[in-house]
Symmetry: C2
Subunit: 217 residues, 2 copies
DNA sequence: ATTATCTATAGATCTATAGATAATGC
DNA sequence: ATTATCTATAGATCTATAGATAATGC
């Protein structure tokens, strides 16, 4: 992806040549960690990716673990939480419209270069098993369950399928699973299309399933 | 987990001491690869785990990559395909019963020490992105869609929610997602219970959702 | 003087191989 | 003689640090 980049001579580079080294290192780190995992990515490889000597990395970060954590923080799970929380769930819009909007919003948040890299990173280095990520997932499910709870109280959706938590899981997990399977860092464009289509079709199916008989044409 | 195991003296060990070294190596390899990934697991660590010198590994396998592949083959995705294909999907049992049986069957296949290790392994080393795994997932979805197609033709389930493929994804992906989140190698017993509960509750919800109005009490 | 880079290197670890050693099975 | 292990080691990494070098900004 990056030209091998000629080595610089010793000494501080002229202002014209100086990019934002720290940001470039982080970007390269995220790319490589996502592709090869923590253990499979050397400090050397990160430095080479941005065309610098490896020792420069220690001028910007205390060590490898610190780079990893900084790269991770670039786009943590809060992105998903924010995408869901930012939606309008007032009774003004119909439940069906909200469900479709939600699927579209999280897909947009996830299907970006950084979002895809983070999906790979989370899988590769066991962050899927990380308490911080688990909390974020629970928070998203809980938020959605709260929306469903209101709708159940208001009789806007069927109440004989399951409780609000079950409904939240039934809607979100197929969308999240599409991310795991087809929205990772080395997904092909065809796979990404498949993820979007599967997720959006699922949102439609879910919307139809929760619509009460009375409200159906 | 394993006692550090005292080093043997040089020379072929007496028959009494000789275990099935190759099998022990594979077991240790699967455990460590699942826990730390391919790059994070050294040949040395595998050998130490079974209490042998690292060079013994090269007597049984051509190299590290070969051990990895052999460990992987221990319990590939065919387990899931077999669990689903082994179910009785004749109209004799009701769709609702089949759906619940399917969830229970795949959970049983996945919630074993080896099954959990493979879930971690697949995530850690990008096998989630592997064509072989993708094919296995498609095969499972396709098999299930075939079952649904028959039921749709026979009017046993609602035909206004989505087509057979959509229904298959709506049932399977939440169960598979429970595996990804809570049935991996370092899942706690509480997480494993959560996985089972979530998956089984989802199967129930799905069964209720696809039951046609006419068939409901 | 400070900052941002480099070169060189220490010391740890990794994969893999060569060759020694001792029990087994013919 | 063959098999299953060991010890020792080569050669390639890897992380991290020390110290040189040259532009910047006061």
């Amino acid at each position: 992806m990056n030209r091998p980049a000629p080595r610089r001579r010793p000494g501080r580079p002229a202002k014209a040549d100086a990019g934002d080294t720290k940001a470039e290192l982080l970007r390269a780190a995220l790319t490589l960690f996502a592709r090869h995992g923590y253990a499979g990515t050397s400090v050397r490889a990160i430095a080479r990716e941005v065309g610098l000597s490896e020792s420069v990395l220690y001028a910007h970060f205390p060590g490898k673990q610190a780079i990893f954590e900084a790269a991770l923080a670039l786009g943590g799970p809060h992105i998903t939480v924010a995408a869901i929380a930012g939606l309008d769930a007032t009774p003004a819009g119909s439940p069906a419209a909200y469900v479709r909007d939600l699927a579209a919003a999280v897909l947009d948040a996830w299907d970006t270069p950084e979002g895809r890299r983070l999906a790979s990173l989370a899988a590769r280095d066991g962050l899927m098993h990380d308490p911080a990520l688990a909390d974020a997932i629970d928070a998203s499910l809980e938020h959605l369950a709260g929306v469903f709870r209101r709708w159940l109280d208001d009789g806007l959706i069927r109440d004989d399928l399951g409780d609000a938590d079950d409904l939240a899981y039934a809607l979100l997990s197929p969308i999240a699973h599409a991310r795991v399977l087809w929205l990772h860092d080395d997904a092909t464009p065809a796979q990404r299309d498949k993820a979007r289509e599967r997720a959006l079709r699922h949102a439609d199916l879910f919307a139809r399933a929760v619509t009460p008989p009375a409200a159906r044409g």
